[in-house]
Symmetry: C3
Subunit: 432 residues, 3 copies
């Protein structure tokens, strides 16, 4: 086990604490909720803030107006609020245009969204790229609406402003980058994606203390438009990204899922799969598909970056997804901690996955005289650590990386990593 594998004490509880702080804030793809969120993250890691003006062209897209909301409600004519943004920011369709007027039930219904199958839950809906307004409410509340006149108010503004995102760059010994990207645009939803924000924050904090081969870039960006904006502003530097993960949905109780990069056999794909195999836990590997989170942009054919998505239950496969039930009860410190440890283990493989050349390639070197071998021969079984030494020696022909060898040997990566360190000390391996 490398030093990078040691998970800090109580990191799950600390991640949960950050999620709890961020939960009440009404975020969107632009605006003050997003800024407030990034400012809180800056208390943990020295995030660089970027403000990109509305109207900026980013490939086929345009940075949209900044949306800010102060209040919103549907009330009876007597002023009694029956749907209230102050109680849950999910009640307003995110990015709704401002409105204030009296309205009949019939007309109001055209702007209401509910979940008939989950009548207690409020759905989460957005309307980013078409000016529009609406409210979300539980289906039970919807059924109680009487045929009368209502007042609707969305005290919001949609104006020229900025798209805000945060970036943290951790310099390693090479310019090659490992990208960690999470979306920060969702309002009060915990698993999607306060869990990803918390994991990226704590992983960044943890790695800051280590000596690393790769440089690590952490992006806290609004979904879709954020990654498009970052790619557009950094087009000439993107080729430095040698590995990447999109972090989302890492706090629920479900098994782990790894969605491969578009390349399908990138080193990050093999490292993530190796970690899930070694974990002993149930898991699922899915091929890339052009829908999901920001890997859609990183893996567009013009970039085709080696970026996968390591998550627990994938989006849309759990009923709480994009509803008010994705709340502080839905994510748990223990799952967050487990996710953290798997991310760290992937980082460890990527850092330690080297190619070596056996310096004594003709026949085995005599391990005994180097005190690397058991003394009494003839016994039935060989210790796994000795087997790891033999595997590393046999396959270190310059063509096989340690991860390749782990796959061939069906041994844990850490065993081979230790064997390689030992053999390097004994001058039996040379890194290439």
């Amino acid at each position: 086990m490398g030093i990078k594998d040691v998970v800090p004490n109580e990191v799950g509880i600390e991640m949960y604490g950050l999620i709890s702080r961020l939960y009440p804030i009404c975020r969107s793809i632009t605006g003050d909720g997003l800024r407030e969120t990034l400012n809180i993250i800056r208390e943990y890691i020295p995030l660089e803030m970027h403000e990109v003006p509305s109207g900026t062209k980013v490939f086929d897209w345009t940075v949209p107006k900044e949306w800010n909301i102060r209040d919103a409600y549907i009330s009876h004519s007597n002023g009694e609020r029956i749907v209230d943004f102050q109680k849950s920011n999910l009640h307003v369709v995110n990015y709704s245009s401002p409105i204030k007027k009296r309205i009949s039930l019939a007309e109001l219904k055209e702007h209401l969204f509910t979940l008939p199958d989950q009548p207690e839950w409020i759905p989460y809906r957005t309307s980013y790229y078409k000016e529009s307004w609406g409210f979300c409410l539980s289906h039970n509340q919807f059924l109680e609406l009487k045929d009368e006149e209502y007042e609707v108010c969305i005290d919001a503004s949609l104006k020229e402003g900025h798209l805000t995102y945060g970036e943290y760059y951790l310099q390693g010994t090479t310019e090659d980058e490992f990208l960690i990207s999470c979306h920060v645009c969702h309002p009060s939803l915990c698993n999607d994606n306060l869990s990803g924000i918390a994991l990226a924050t704590y992983l960044a904090k943890h790695l800051t203390a280590l000596s690393l081969r790769y440089s690590y870039r952490f992006l806290f960006i609004p979904g879709t438009i954020g990654s498009i904006t970052w790619l557009s502003l950094n087009e000439d530097r993107v080729s430095r990204v040698k590995h990447g993960l999109v972090v989302a949905g890492v706090g629920d109780s479900g098994k782990f899922t790894y969605k491969k990069s578009r390349r399908g056999d990138a080193e990050i794909d093999r490292a993530a799969i190796q970690i899930l195999k070694e974990s002993g836990d149930d898991y699922e590997i899915i091929d890339f598909f052009p829908y999901g989170y920001d890997e859609r942009q990183y893996c567009s054919p013009g970039f085709n970056l080696p970026v996968g998505c390591l998550m627990r239950t994938p989006q849309s496969r759990y009923p709480e997804y994009h509803t008010s039930a994705d709340n502080l009860d839905f994510v748990k410190p223990e799952f967050l901690e487990d996710s953290f440890s798997k991310y760290l283990a992937v980082v460890n493989i990527i850092e330690e996955n080297r190619r070596y050349v056996n310096q004594n390639p003709k026949c085995e070197p005599q391990l005994g005289k180097r005190k690397l071998y058991e003394r009494i021969g003839g016994q039935r079984e060989m210790a796994v650590d000795q087997l790891a030494l033999l595997w590393v020696l046999n396959m270190s022909d310059g063509a096989h990386s340690l991860l390749d060898i782990a796959t061939l040997a069906q041994l844990p990566f850490g065993k081979l990593q230790s064997a390689a360190h030992l053999l390097r000390e004994k001058m039996l391996l040379r890194e290439i």
Copy 2:
């Protein structure tokens, strides 16, 4: 779905009608039965007739003599016919030499063929390349033969003449060819291969009305010697064949079987497999083997053409095969129509399987502003058509054809075809 996918009304019934007309004729690898058959097909499509003289050298083979038969029987000494060619042309071993003589039962038996396991059925036997004669009869009839003298008569001729075959060439916008080949040499046997003749005829008729990228060549040839003759006469043009199918056994009730070309991964192989996968019906894929129909010649190593065989139950896997039970009851309009529609669907894929380049390859294009995207975001599932748009965009990097994308996306080819048409209209794709 492309226009090429629309199956004409009642095509199965019409195909069955053609089979019924052709059923009584006694065909062989040469002779008037073959000519009569081709002349009937000419009522449907403008078939070009070829007459190749006996003795013509065609690679390692020689075009054989022309065989014509008028009558044949085995009769008691009182003249009563007990086996009569007029009742079934299967009674005579096809290509038998003429004979007329009195004969003992013992000697006669050396020239009789029966099916002890199917005692009611008459087998179909041939003796093309060794001069010989014989009769086929039901085993029950055989058991009743008494030890007496018989008269045998085969009123046939084997003389210098011609090998006849029919060819229909349908010019497309390119010189690249799609070859459709069926054998026309079997006498009164419906599935093998009047069904194939009917399918090729109606497919030719149907495609004639369409605007096509490929040129289509339909061959109506006697088995083995016919394809060898055609290949020999057209050796210099054979490289134009980019795709091909041998049509046989397409009228029975069995599941579909696709036998791959010798190449194994030709576009025709992938197209046929895609169609069978999409059909939702049970099916079987088998690798190429050097036995079967005329694919043996097309796929000989000196040609190695991308020609597969798309059929229902393969030859020799149904008891009726090459017996009198392969009759007008054995094939059905509904199976013929189903076969027609699958052939047409394969043609559609071959016609529509293009490679495109995404004109906006860096990040996704904004589909919303082009009215290609749903407006209210955050919902759980994505419509399959929208997913098809994303797949075509993501994978159109010049390396993937639509069929490649269909395989990756596990979506019906037609969905991707429609998506590609839409994206091309919006200038987001360019064909290469």
Copy 3:
């Protein structure tokens, strides 16, 4: 079936006879037991003897001292022997340093080895590369030892001398070599590896009488240090080895196991797998791993020779392995004979696996006129031998070997071999 496939009568019984002669001898990696063993083998085949001086540098290793033992025992103070080398040479840890002294039970126990799980059996232990001494005994006997003083005596010598190995080279029509290697260092253990010694001896004897394409090199060497020594002394000639097998554990009742060479897809790998497939017996294929017998050295990355290991039950997978229970009851003539026949069949494939070019590649040649084809057509099934003719013709394009064709056709190699001989006679094939 080629002549090489004919297994001599009673070869299993003869192999068992050789094993019985060699069983009592106390072998080690050096010394007179090894010499005596090789001298007995010289009665069967003209083995060349090599003597390599102690201290010779062989890659990272040094040829060790020569060990010879005359007697050894543990006795009560009254002189009564309770553990006696004369009863079983396994009682002494192989390569033990000489010792003679009185000793307490407590001290003695540090030098004793037993098998608590198999309390009646004596384990086999070695101490080659660390000077040390010890005794092996049954666990039941161990439990009876009382707390008294014992006399231990190992009347052995460890002196400058030689490492001895035997080599038999059988010249074929080419310089390309097939290497057969077996270890000869184990004392009274039958399956590991008197069985391998017997098989190599009788295979060498059998092949001597045949006319062969490859040259065959048989090595009778002490494990590990023997193969390292041979590789070191023959480094410049090693590239002639085109195929190789390590022979060990071929006399037990278990199913066959083939351990692939490090290359994984060498011709020897494919030949061995083909034979096991064809055998109709249960078998197992395992990938290369860098532990086991001398394939560890042949397959070290600096050599990477195409050498696999064809055995019955792999080492350490049977409880008798490296114990006194691996005795003359554990191996049987019938299993030895079965192993011999499988080795011979592998040799046959390697000898006969040629590449041909069809001399009539355009369409099938007319087999009938060459009397290679059935005369009455139309029958349901084709004889397998005729199918073999068609497969060889169709796939003989210069790219496919007979073994490739056997794999594609799923036919026994022998059928294709016969077909190829027949087609070569008819001038339809040319070897390349």
